[in-house]
Symmetry: C2
Subunit: 242 residues, 2 copies
Amino acid sequence: MVEPASLTVFAVEGIGEVTPGTDLALLLAEVLDQSAGDYALADGDVLVVTQKVVSKAEGRVVALDHHDEAAKIALVESESTRILRRRGSLLITQTKHGFICANAGVDLSNVQEGTAVLLPLEPDRSARRLRADLRRHLGVEVAVIVSDTFGRTWRQGVTDIALGCAGILPVLDLRGTTDAMGRELQATEICIIDEICSAADLVMGKATGTPAAVLRGIAPDWFGEGSVAEHVVRRAEDDLFR
Amino acid sequence: MVEPASLTVFAVEGIGEVTPGTDLALLLAEVLDQSAGDYALADGDVLVVTQKVVSKAEGRVVALDHHDEAAKIALVESESTRILRRRGSLLITQTKHGFICANAGVDLSNVQEGTAVLLPLEPDRSARRLRADLRRHLGVEVAVIVSDTFGRTWRQGVTDIALGCAGILPVLDLRGTTDAMGRELQATEICIIDEICSAADLVMGKATGTPAAVLRGIAPDWFGEGSVAEHVVRRAEDDLFR
């Protein structure tokens, strides 16, 4: 498993407003075509797209009065299969996908007044569809990751992680690989798609709402098949903190 | 708060073996000086260095028979203030620093036979010292982050996070900032140093043991004062999962 010696990550500029029914792949293809020069999407790139625009394009938008705390909580509960913790208006829940996050991923920032944006129904499928459509529009073979911003246990601050992916190995499995001294490695399953989302978030403005970034230069053998649902979401029976 | 439009991350090649007493800053300065051309360390760069070489240089190495499970567990317990979970030989503990991780960060990969490497005593201080020494050796103003590889709750695979930092804001605080539609942002404290460590890990080989990377291009206003101990480690009373 050879790591790349260098990587570049850049923001995808010029994506306008996305609303239910927007053809997101076409919109991305238009701003990432040859006219983008060095920033045109190319074979081997990884395109990271935020959940928010994927959800909006897919129509995962519901009416919600942002000032109605009871309605907010009811919406979060309806998107959840389990409540893990509750503190004030913050709920940590398990979503129908198996993600554990704040408020079931229900999103109230950068959304239209009086609405909330929900997580995509199947983020892996969203990524697969975007990947296929970009291949069709631009003739490029890229990986696609749908990202979101999650809090973590034990550490302050949020980071971006992957909700869905297509065309990339979610977790590099180095089990059986030896270290520089010929002994078996310990920490051997690296969640590269979460690391890629974190790298992408550094160029995607929370305030400006830039909803996509491209990471260029990953190792060719990192491309492959896999899904977040199958390879990243930890099964309850393997988890020590539920 | 303006995000950069693009970033580059590259591996620091040519660092040889690090042992107790190695002057790590001098070693890094030698491989990152002007002879490195485009890869020479420059003002505004962020240098990410893995815990393993920092600990080795600082002499945080102890004797340990890797085949002696009882000795391993005793060592992990001696590095911990609290055991959160135990499954077989895996312990999730809280270290004296307040980090919660597997086996108290005791490291058996890429270490000399018959030894184990412990976490630095004060990783923020390690970062501050490296930063000051690099300024002295190379005349550059850079930020330094000491990284390590941690597992997470609820998600498979490990990612790199920050144990210590110097010269950079650990968490971007966007509280009070408004979104593109003029409303207050929700997820507003972004742990950029963890995201930077994740980006760096993508070019640092676990198997080859490349122990450092440079991230170039972060926004000038991300530089500043802060520490992991103070700004990233969540206080027990604020935590929902202990």
